[in-house]
Subunit: 232 residues, 2 copies
DNA sequence: AACAATCCTGATAGAATCTTGATGGCGGCA
DNA sequence: TGCCGCCATCAAGATTCTATCAGGATTGTT
């Protein structure tokens, strides 16, 4: 998919508000289609296939909640509802009808833009297709969701403590982690000065993960400071 | 499908707020895990695999924004940020770091619940990707609709508890499930430390489903952590 | 610059502890 | 009576902890 500017559909009747939104969005490189009524909005939603829909609930020709329902009958384009009536039960109803977010007037441009980015992010990776968070460095591969560790395509079995230690190193991959910090994250703050634990377990990790445990390339020592997991 | 109550992770230090949230969620049939600190929260997020995370930004031990970042390094579980500081730039930052929604205190229970439903809807599988009502792995086949289990085309009879256990394993197929999590899903949260139940029932499942129960290939043990059902 | 004392790190191995799987009995219930 | 869930016990195995030793780097002193 070409990374063109995302298309935003604006369903809003008040000209003033519409101009504010249009200007803000254009300034941030979005393409904008506008609709001043519910009817027109539904037509545009079907015809233009926008990536996000901004929907004002207070439209003259149809209840905004009804618009949400209609859009959801045919598409799951992210809908961000905008409304002045903030207190009512509308908020809950809109969300339950399929809206993805709800902004109460007045709101700042930066918040609106951030919420649009969230919506786009959601449609970028449909949940089923979500890429697995997998850490990889050299011939080490760690699947953090499945809790599986591979060294050159061979699964390596780690004990709970070994895995926790590796996970802590991965969280800070590339950076140095002090003994104290590692101990806190793996054993808890009461063990912050038991640095001999680290020596034993780092040795075990190296034996299981390094090609040559005596000459570590992934799990390196930063003398006097701590350890580091190579990244990339 | 016996839809089990979704698991919500609560990262919130103020006891009062935590109680409000816990009560609200429990009353609406969510399972709740609580963490009173960022450190604990990160551990729970990794360990318990919640379906939604409620994160208070004002934690004592770590900046909430940092917590968001850390969670996103390993998972894309929906995060709903809760915060008192509504005006700042935090809102935008949190959303851009990967949070999915942002609630400013004070907020109503109904709105919170609606936003949680949105988050769950997002992580639900999109239409085309709907999870197969039939699970299959090796010579094991489970028809989740008819509630029938086959091993190499022979139907196997499972007791209710055995089936619930197997269903829980299937829901997380491929991943490790901790003892605690399994116990909660099958027996309820009051039994979270009765891990001997698991040993008995896992043994029974293995006898009924494995070709060689002493050398399990489908229902494997992750020592010190939990169990895993092989997938594919 | 040389030396020694000290600290840091890695290796190893045994003991203590925890975890797991196997088995069988008990009671409730249809 | 037969099935099922619950509970207790035991042995084997795995894991964690602890202690000890040696090589190397660093520091401080002369």
């Amino acid at each position: 998919m070409a990374a063109t500017a995302p298309l935003v559909l604006l369903i809003e009747d008040e000209p003033q508000m519409r101009r504010f939104l249009r200007t803000t969005l254009r300034a941030h490189d979005y393409q904008v289609v506008e609709a001043a009524s519910a009817r027109e909005g539904l037509a545009q939603a079907a015809g233009r296939n926008p990536e996000v829909i901004l929907l004002d609930l207070g439209l003259p020709d149809m209840d905004g909640l009804e618009v949400t329902r209609e859009i959801r009958r045919v598409a799951r384009t992210p809908i961000i509802v905008i409304s002045a009536r903030g207190q009512g039960h509308d908020k809950v109803t809109a969300l339950d009808l399929g809206a993805d977010d709800y902004l109460t007037k007045p709101f700042g441009a930066s918040e609106l833009l951030a919420r649009i980015r969230v919506a786009l992010r959601h449609s970028a990776f449909p949940p089923g297709t979500a890429p697995q968070p997998v850490f990889q460095a050299g011939e080490l591969r760690v699947d953090l969701v499945r809790r599986q560790v591979f060294r050159a395509d061979e699964e390596a079995h780690l004990t709970p403590t070994e895995y926790k230690l590796l996970a802590a190193l991965i969280r800070h991959a590339g950076r140095v982690i002090t003994h104290r910090q590692l101990l806190q994250e793996v054993w808890g703050s009461n063990y912050a000065d038991q640095s001999h634990y680290l020596r034993v377990y780092m040795a075990q990790l190296r034996h299981k993960l390094e090609r040559d445990p005596t000459r570590p390339r992934l799990l390196t020592t930063e003398p006097g400071v701590g350890y580091r997991l190579r990244e990339g």
